[in-house]
Every structure is written in structure tokens, then in C-alpha cells.
Amino acid sequence: MKSGDWVGTALRSLAEHDREREAPEEVEPRLVAAFRRRRARWKTKTVVLATLGVAAAITLFLARPQPKPKQVVPMPVREQPIAVAAAPAPMPMPVQEVTPQARQVKRQPREVVTQFFPLLDVAPPFERGELLRVTVPASTMRSVGLPVNEDHLTDRVYADVLVGQEGLARAIRFVSYEQ
């Protein structure tokens, strides 16, 4: 008999011998208990964060800044005065030169963001979602492990909340502005 044959036979015998072997019965209840703990944590966290996210989104929507009036770039005064009949000669007006610096739009503060912090331990598959800019209490930063001064826990900070297609808040990142 070829060596491969008897090795195969030997392995099949071992496989057959072990076929009925299974994990001890006590493993299943331990796993189910762990599953329930995770699910409970996941549910609580999801509800709290979804509520927080929605509340923050509503707050942001209500407190959104009104559209600013359009900036008017000063036009140079025409050098040729308009002649008006029977009117006194107009006083010469100084011509206002527009410098390139004046044309520059005022620099916007630079946005600095943190990494995204996952909000769900076990998240359903992500298909699509939206990023919502919200304001949250600074204490929220603590919940993801970021340091916050005790005096500023109630301060409002900007955050981006990633909301999945099912409406669950999946991740959050914090935003600050630098001049």
C-alpha cells in the first residue's frame, strides 16, 4: 500500500474518532450571556447617541446663522463728474483706489478635526450615511476618552456625527477652529 493511502486512512480514522467532539456545554451559556451584555450596551449607547445626535441637529438647525448680506466691493468713483444743468460745479471727489489687499476675502478660520470615534460596538453594515454638524456639550468628548477641563464640561463644541442609512449615529468627531 502506498504511504499516502495509509496516511490518508490514518487521518480519516482520527477524523472519525473526533467527529463527535464538541465544545463543553457550559461554553454556550457563557457566550449567550456575553451576547446579551453586548446587545444591552449597544442598545443603550445607540439610543443615547441617536437622541443626542438628533437633538443636536435640531438645535443646530434652529440656531443656524442667518445668511449674511452680500459683501459689496467698493467701486471706484468715476472721474468724469455727471454734469447737471444749472447746478453748481461739483466739488472734486477723491478717487478711492481698490488695492489687491482690499479685494481679498477675509480669511476664514481653519477647521481642525479629531479622528472619528466609533459610537457602536457592533454596527450593522454601512451602506450610506450623512455627516451632521452639530453642537454638543464638551462632556461628550470625555465619553470618547478625550481630555476636557472640568470648568468647560458644559461648554458647547462643534462635532460631526456620522449617521448611517438606518438613522443610527455611528461615529463622532470633534471640530475646533484655528485662526
Binding site: 504511504s3 495509509w6 486512512t9 465544545a23 451576547f35 446579551r36
Partner: protein
């Protein structure tokens, strides 16, 4: 209706305890036997089985049906856990020291428990990279494709390791017979 492993996993990740339990009952035996045949320790096999299913809850969203079956995904997790245990106890692999029957006699004696245990010890004495393909393909009846997915290597590598592993096994069993 019998749900596929992938469907059970998806439901379990959404919080369905029944689905998680069903998936565990369906797959725990294979994971337990894989760990047992890789380590020769029932205690480690029990731990690995429990940890593998916990890891499935944590990282199950990473499962990609296009890359393999849930079973191979689970074997992949279990394999990593087993390798970590083996690293922690270098040199703990069992060496064959007992005399056993020659190939021809071995076939006749395979029904005996001692012979089966000798084959087990021979498998345990293989280097882990050869042992894992023998365990998956010869003892767990995994396809080459599933084994490749579990071991995160090409199918060709599985084939060549399997061939070399069987040859080593034949030599070990024959060598023992000559002691």
C-alpha cells in the same frame, strides 16, 4: 427554512440572539475540533472556541461573503487564537516518543484507541503551518478554497503544504515504527 451561516451572522450582528445561538450550535464543533487537533489540549480548545465566537460578535462586520464562507472566517479567527497560544508555549508541541506499529500493522490497529492517539501525536508534532492544512483539509474536510480563505494564503500554497505535511506525517509514523 434553514438560514445560511451568512444570514445567521447578519441577524446576530443586528442583535438576534436566536440567530447567534443557531450559528454557534452549527459551527462550534468544527472550531472546537480544529483547536483541539491543533493544540492537543481540551482546555485551550474550549477557550479558543469561546473567544472565536466572541471575536465574531466584535468583528463580524468585517466578514465578506465574496472572500469565503463564515466557517472559513471562523477558522481564520480560531487559527489566529491558536497560533497565539502556541507562541506562548514554544516547545510544547508533543513529540512522538512511543513506539507504534508499522504502516501495515497500523492500518489493522487503527480501530484501537492507542493507534488513533499515535496519529494525533504525529499530527501535533508537525510544524504549525503544515499541521493547520492537515487539520483543516484532512480532519475537518474543508475544501482547499475554504482552507485558503481561513489561512489567508493562495490555494496553491494549501496544496503544496498539504502534500509536504502528509509526506512528513508518513515519515514520522514510519520513523516511529523503526525505533
Amino acid at each position: 427554512m434553514i438560514l445560511t451561516d451568512a444570514a445567521l451572522l447578519e441577524q446576530a450582528l443586528r442583535g438576534a440572539e436566536d440567530a447567534f445561538t443557531a450559528l454557534y450550535r452549527r459551527r462550534q464543533g468544527g472550531v472546537y475540533r480544529f483547536a483541539l487537533q491543533m493544540t492537543g489540549s481540551t482546555a485551550i480548545a474550549e477557550d479558543v472556541t469561546q473567544e472565536a465566537f466572541l471575536a465574531l460578535l466584535l468583528h463580524g462586520t468585517r466578514y465578506d461573503e465574496a472572500r469565503g464562507t463564515v466557517a472559513s472566517f471562523l477558522y481564520g479567527i480560531a487559527r489566529n487564537l491558536v497560533m497565539r497560544r502556541l507562541d506562548r508555549r514554544p516547545g510544547a508541541d508533543v513529540e512522538i516518543t512511543e513506539e507504534c506499529a508499522g504502516p501495515e500493522d497500523l492500518l489493522e490497529d487503527l480501530t484501537r484507541r492507542e493507534s488513533i492517539e499515535q496519529v494525533r501525536q504525529a499530527v501535533l508534532s508537525l510544524p504549525p503551518v503544515f499541521r493547520e492544512v492537515i487539520v483543516l483539509c484532512d480532519l475537518q474536510d474543508s475544501s482547499y478554497e475554504d482552507a485558503a480563505a481561513a489561512l489567508n494564503c493562495p490555494v496553491g500554497t494549501v496544496r503544496s503544504r498539504l502534500s509536504r505535511g502528509r509526506a512528513m506525517l508518513a515519515r514520522k509514523l514510519r520513523g516511529v515504527a523503526m525505533v
